[in-house]
C-alpha cells in the first residue's frame, strides 16, 4: 500500500549494515512510514499497551527470578525476603503482581474491540487466531506464576486446576505426569517455575507473528472499510507513536496507583498464608481474570463436560471469523448486532461475578443460564444475525467518511 520509496541512508555505517541486512529499512517501513488508518479511535491503543505490559512483565520477572527460590520450604520465605531485604524488591514484585492484572484488563479490552469492530473477519483471520493463541499462553503464564509464591491459594489453585485432567481418558496418568509425583508438591513447583520462565518468551514470539500478520493486512478501523488510497492513512510516526504514548501515560498511572497505594488489591489475603496440604481453604477462588471460565466450569455438574466447555469457551473465539456471517464488518453499521454485543459483555461480567460466588443455590442456576447464553451468542446469534440483520449503509472509503464528518461539523 505504501508508496513511499525505501529511505536512502546517509550514515555510512548504517548504509553498510542495511545493505547486508535491511534492519533499518524494515524499521523505517514498519515503525515510521507504516500507513495506519487515520480514523482509528482510542480503542486501537490497547494493542500497544498490551505490548508494553508484556515487556514490564518480562523485565520485572527476570529480576524476581534472581532472588526467588523454587522449593516448597523456601519459596514463601524467598518472596518475603524480596519484599523486605532486596533493594526495591517490593517495587519489582508489586509491579509484576499488579502488572499481570493490568495486562489481562488491557487484553480483554483489546479482544472486545476486535469483536465489536469485526477485526477478525477476512483477511484478518490468522491475525485473530494468533491472538487467541497468545491469550491461551497468557492464561498458562498467569496460572503458573500464581503458584510460585506457594501460599495457600497458590497450592490449592494448582491442585484444583491440574486435577481437571483426571476425568479425561488416562487422566490419572496425565495428572501424575503433570505433578511429577502423586500430588502437587516440590517437583510440581520446580517445573512450574521452569515453565513460567519459558511461556512469556513464547508469547513474545507469537506477538511478533501477530504484528507481522497485522502489518500484512494493515489495521482495521471503526468503519470496517479497507484502506483504499493514501488519503485514508497517516504515517505511524509521529501520529500514532504520540497517540499511543498518551494512553501509555494513563496506563502507567493506573498501574502505579495499584502498585504504590493498593498493592494487594487483586490478591487474596489467604495467599500470604504458607501452603499447607492438610488445610483446605474455605473458598478456592482464582484470580479475577479467570473467573468467567471458572464459572463455566462449575456451572456443569458433570466434571468432564465442565472441563470441555471451559476450554471450548476460549476455542470458540478462534472460529469467530466463520461463525459471524455478516458481510458488514464493523458493529457501527449493525444496530442489532450492537445490542447483542452488549448483552454478551453483560453476560461475561455476570459470569465473572458468579465465578467469585460459592457454587450453591441461585448462583448455580444463574451460572447455567449465563453459560448457555455465552455459547448461544457465538453458535446461534452470530451465524443467524449475519443473514437476517438489516445493516446501515457503509461509507465508500475512510477519507470520504472523514471529510463528510468535517462538513457536518463546519455547517453545525
Amino acid at each position: 500500500m505504501s508508496t513511499t520509496p525505501d529511505p536512502v541512508w546517509s550514515n555510512r555505517a548504517i548504509k553498510w549494515f542495511d545493505r547486508r541486512l535491511p534492519l533499518f529499512t524494515m524499521m523505517h517501513k514498519e515503525l515510521i512510514v507504516y500507513p495506519t488508518p487515520r480514523n482509528i479511535n482510542y480503542w486501537w491503543n490497547f494493542g500497544s499497551l498490551a505490548g508494553v505490559a508484556l515487556v514490564i512483565m518480562i523485565l520485572t520477572g527476570i529480576f524476581l527470578a534472581m532472588f526467588y527460590t523454587p522449593h516448597e520450604d523456601m519459596a514463601f520465605a524467598s518472596i518475603e525476603r524480596i519484599m523486605r531485604e532486596v533493594n526495591y524488591g517490593w517495587l519489582i514484585r508489586f509491579l509484576h503482581m499488579n502488572g499481570a492484572s493490568m495486562f489481562f484488563a488491557v487484553v480483554y479490552i483489546h479482544i472486545l474491540r476486535g469483536m465489536y469492530y469485526g477485526s477478525y473477519k477476512a483477511p484478518r483471520e490468522l491475525l485473530w487466531i494468533i491472538g487467541v493463541v497468545i491469550y491461551i499462553l497468557m492464561m498458562a503464564a498467569a496460572f503458573l506464576g500464581y503458584v510460585l509464591p506457594w501460599g495457600q491459594m497458590s497450592f490449592w489453585a494448582a491442585t484444583v486446576i491440574t486435577s481437571l485432567v483426571t476425568p479425561l481418558p488416562f487422566g490419572e496418568t496425565i495428572a501424575i505426569w503433570l505433578w511429577g509425583g502423586y500430588s502437587v508438591d516440590n517437583d510440581t513447583l520446580k517445573r512450574f517455575f521452569s515453565l513460567h520462565y519459558l511461556v512469556p518468551f513464547l508469547i513474545f514470539a507469537f506477538v511478533f507473528l501477530h504484528l507481522w500478520a497485522l502489518h500484512t493486512t494493515k489495521s482495521n478501523n471503526p468503519l470496517g472499510v479497507e484502506i483504499k488510497k493514501p488519503a485514508d492513512t497517516l504515517p505511524f510516526h509521529p501520529y500514532f507513536t504520540v497517540k499511543d504514548s498518551v494512553t501509555l501515560g494513563a496506563f502507567l498511572f493506573l498501574l502505579c496507583y495499584f502498585v504504590f497505594f493498593a498493592p494487594n488489591y487483586f490478591n487474596h489475603s489467604i495467599n500470604y498464608v504458607m501452603a499447607d496440604p492438610l488445610v483446605t481453604p474455605e473458598h478456592i477462588v482464582p484470580e479475577w481474570y479467570f473467573l468467567p471460565f471458572y464459572a463455566i466450569l462449575r456451572a456443569i455438574p458433570d466434571k468432564l463436560m465442565g472441563v470441555v466447555l471451559m476450554f471450548a469457551a476460549i476455542l470458540v473465539w478462534a472460529a469467530l471469523p466463520w461463525l459471524d456471517t455478516s458481510k458488514v464488518r464493523s458493529g457501527r453499521f449493525r444496530p442489532t448486532f450492537r445490542i447483542f454485543f452488549w448483552i454478551f459483555v453483560a453476560d461475561a461480567v455476570l459470569l465473572t461475578y458468579l465465578g467469585a460466588m460459592p457454587a450453591e443455590g441461585i448462583y448455580v442456576t444463574l451460572g447455567q443460564f449465563a453459560t448457555a447464553w455465552y455459547f448461544i451468542h457465538f453458535l446461534v446469534v452470530l451465524p443467524i444475525l449475519g443473514k437476517v440483520e438489516k445493516t446501515e449503509p457503509v461509507p465508500e472509503s475512510i477519507s470520504a467518511a472523514v471529510s463528510a464528518e468535517h462538513q457536518k461539523e463546519a455547517s453545525a
Binding site: L91, K243, V246, G249, L254, C256, F260, A262, Y265
Partner: protein
C-alpha cells in the same frame, strides 16, 4: 473522541471499585457486631507510621505476644527503623536467647541474640507449640495483617473481641453452638472458637512513655506494630508513589496536549 470518553469511564469504574471495597466489613461469621474500622496513621495517600505508636506496639509484643508468636523473616536490626538507636537495639536483642553452634566440641549452645539475628522462636518446634496451645500452632505474626482481610482492623477487633460467655446472637444463629474446652469465644474469629485466650487486660503492662495502657490502647498499638511488621516498606512506597503519580499526571497531560496539537489538521 468517543473512544477516549469510554476509556475514562471504564477507568472511573475501576477506581470506584477500589474506593468502595473497604466499605463492606463483615465479622467472623456474619452474625455478631460489625468489625469497627479504626482510623490509622498509615491509611490513605499520605499515610505514614507513628514511630511512638510502633515502639509502644513493640512493648506489647515483647511483653505479651512473643511468648507464643514468632515474627519470621524479621531481624532485631529492623527495630532501628521504628526509632530505636543502635545501642538500644543491641540491648533489646540481648534480652533474647538464640541457638548457635556447633562449637568446637560439636555441641549446640544458647547465646544472647545480636541485632543481626532473626527474631527468636518461642517454641523449639511445632509439636511443642501445639502441645502448649490446645493443638494449634500460634501463627507467625510478621505477615498477619496481609494474611487476613481488613488487616490491622481485624487484629484490633480480634484482640478486643472476647466474650466471657457465648452471647445470645451466636446461639440464635446456631443453636448447636458450644465451646470446646480450652477454647474462648471471639466475635471476630471465623467460627468464633479461638485457641488463643484473651490477652489484653487493664494493668497487664506499663508503657515506658507513660501512655495509659488500656486494652484499647494496647490493641491499637500492637496492631499498628504488626502492620509495620508486614509492610515495612509502606512509608517509602507511598512517598515514592506520590512522586510517580504526580509525574505521570503531568507527563500524560503534556503528551495529550502535544497529541491534540499534532493532530489538529490530521483528522
Amino acid at each position: 473522541m468517543s473512544g477516549l470518553k469510554g476509556i475514562i469511564g471504564a477507568a472511573a469504574v475501576a477506581v470506584g471499585l477500589v474506593a468502595g471495597a473497604p466499605a463492606a466489613l463483615a465479622a467472623g461469621g456474619g452474625h455478631g457486631p460489625e468489625l469497627k474500622h479504626q482510623s490509622w496513621t498509615f491509611d490513605g495517600l499520605f499515610g505514614r507510621y507513628s514511630e511512638k505508636q510502633l515502639r509502644r506496639g513493640w512493648e506489647v509484643y515483647e511483653g505479651i505476644c512473643k511468648s507464643c508468636h514468632t515474627l519470621d523473616y524479621m531481624h532485631y536490626r529492623n527495630l532501628e527503623q521504628i526509632g530505636y538507636t543502635e545501642d538500644e537495639v543491641k540491648e533489646i536483642a540481648a534480652r533474647f536467647e538464640v541457638q548457635d553452634g556447633p562449637d568446637e566440641w560439636g555441641d549446640m549452645f544458647m547465646r544472647p541474640a545480636t541485632p543481626l539475628d532473626g527474631f527468636a522462636e518461642p517454641y523449639e518446634n511445632d509439636a511443642i507449640a501445639m502441645l502448649a496451645n490446645g493443638g494449634v500452632v500460634p501463627p507467625n505474626l510478621s505477615v498477619i495483617t496481609r494474611a487476613r482481610d481488613h488487616g490491622a482492623d481485624y487484629v484490633y477487633n480480634l484482640l478486643l473481641g472476647y466474650e466471657d460467655e457465648v452471647p445470645e446472637w451466636a446461639t440464635e444463629a446456631d443453636p448447636t453452638f458450644s465451646l470446646a474446652p480450652g477454647k474462648s469465644f471471639n466475635t471476630f474469629f471465623p467460627g468464633y472458637a479461638i485457641s488463643m485466650p484473651q490477652q489484653l487486660f487493664e494493668g497487664i503492662l506499663e508503657y515506658s512513655d507513660g501512655t495509659e495502657a488500656t486494652p484499647e490502647q494496647m490493641a491499637k498499638d500492637v496492631s499498628a506494630f504488626l502492620q509495620w511488621a508486614a509492610e515495612p516498606e509502606l512509608e517509602e512506597r507511598k512517598g515514592l508513589g506520590r512522586m510517580v503519580l504526580l509525574f505521570l499526571i503531568v507527563l500524560t497531560g503534556v503528551l495529550f496536549a502535544y497529541k491534540r496539537e499534532l493532530w489538529k489538521d490530521a483528522h
